[in-house]
Symmetry: C2
Subunit: 315 residues, 2 copies
Amino acid sequence: MPAALEFLPQADLLLVGDRSAIAPLAPADAALQIIDQGANASVDQGIRALLRGAQSTAQGACLKLLRDGEGDVLISAADTGALLTLSRHCLGSLPGIDRPALTKQLNGKHGAFWMADLGANVRCTPAMLVQFAQMGVVASRVFSRVVRPRVALLNIGTEASKGLARLHRAAAALEVLPDSEYVGFVEGSALFDNQADVVVSEGFVGNVALKAIEGTAGMARHLMQETMAGLAPWQRLLMFGLRGPFARLGAQLDSGRYNGAPLLGLPQTVIKSHGAARQDAFANALQRGIDAVDAALPETLAHGLSAARADTQQE
Amino acid sequence: MPAALEFLPQADLLLVGDRSAIAPLAPADAALQIIDQGANASVDQGIRALLRGAQSTAQGACLKLLRDGEGDVLISAADTGALLTLSRHCLGSLPGIDRPALTKQLNGKHGAFWMADLGANVRCTPAMLVQFAQMGVVASRVFSRVVRPRVALLNIGTEASKGLARLHRAAAALEVLPDSEYVGFVEGSALFDNQADVVVSEGFVGNVALKAIEGTAGMARHLMQETMAGLAPWQRLLMFGLRGPFARLGAQLDSGRYNGAPLLGLPQTVIKSHGAARQDAFANALQRGIDAVDAALPETLAHGLSAARADTQQE
């Protein structure tokens, strides 16, 4: 938390949760406020119990602050399913969107691309996948300045017959999505080749892919460290002159740097941090939240979705 | 192909397929034989048509050679689903195994682990997942010399309530699997931390994970090459003294090096190569096939599965 306070002096932080757990970690003179409010929400107890007890959970209290205009962005590292359920319950969703999606911009070899859903909705209908694509298209147009984003579905092969029936139905609907070009199925092995600007998947699959990406990036860093550790003394001397470029390479492979994914489709900004995020990674999620507020993420998305609907009706 | 002939002088290669496509690529004096036999099989035409036309496809012809004892191992880069369907149809499967699984040994930070299924069975029942675990346990015991392999299910969270109902049912069954220890759910981000010796998933999810791993390893190589390209001239001089270790690092991140996954659960050895494998990667799949024959993979697996069954019945 102290790291976040250093990097983010322009933000007022409200820490919501169990005060006895938070207070020892927060510096006494810091520009933050602690709101004592129970534990994190979880879906373990079932959806009904979760919604019934919403007010007594930290996330429920945060969402009430957002709804009442006392907060601009919620950043949470707790259970994704609980966060999604409570967010929809407390805030509703944008017109035309049934289920918000966990969304992220990733860096490929030739630029950025967007992925959704990354784990908010375990199983998805074709209609939900199409809505994720719609949100991704707006995000890509507005934030990545791609005029006509290319949309792909994450699958286990590129042939039209591969994979699951609901992907095939979603593919048919994506063919006619406005302001975008459907480019077919994409495999995980080609994700970073920028064949698409928006990659759509159901939450279970997107989450597996994202975490496999993070795990592999961590393995690559591990192999790099092993390589360094195995150098002869004279090679370490050479390495000293190369420490700048290789430190940058290590940072590019640090998934903590990309921590923080917005739940797109809500009327307010909610950012999911990794549960296992380190201090610097969590600070990145905070930064992502502030960026989203600066960019008026939900309003911009709502505007883009509404414009796309108007276009479709005119056609 | 010439690369494979150099590396694998101890193998007799039978090339089965369209002679007009193969012949121009094969050296005239090479120790190989071309069997002219139609195109690759595909599941696009439907399962029935695939099985009806099995004899006229390259894979069908190969499997007949295997069944008749005229070949020891089939290596194919064609459609995984078609390969699985034809293999089961022509060869049957081992006692106690309903569906063969695409299996692979991957290198984690602290040693190897096995993953199954990597894409042979798109959707799986809990019973199939348990069979994949059984095969993985035998493979880990025999080939990785792990006495009591730890088994995990690939999921989107480690909490018991996360993910899909069929994973929860499989988890209950894995708790009592003999000769192994069920350690719960594992996420893709922890795959390389060696929390498990055998990681089980349904084919769709395993394939997405494997390909995301390969894509990310490729991205890491790309970033490394970009780092090298961005070095100042004097730094390139330093790099010259480090080219050995960094060439090894690059090779560790080359997924082509790990190309070739056996379809475990068949009475003969069938190896799936990536469809997009380069020449050296395909040569690695050939080498993997020869290793599998040397290790008597199907017989060893059958023996291990039968011993595990005997143990269970005694208990």
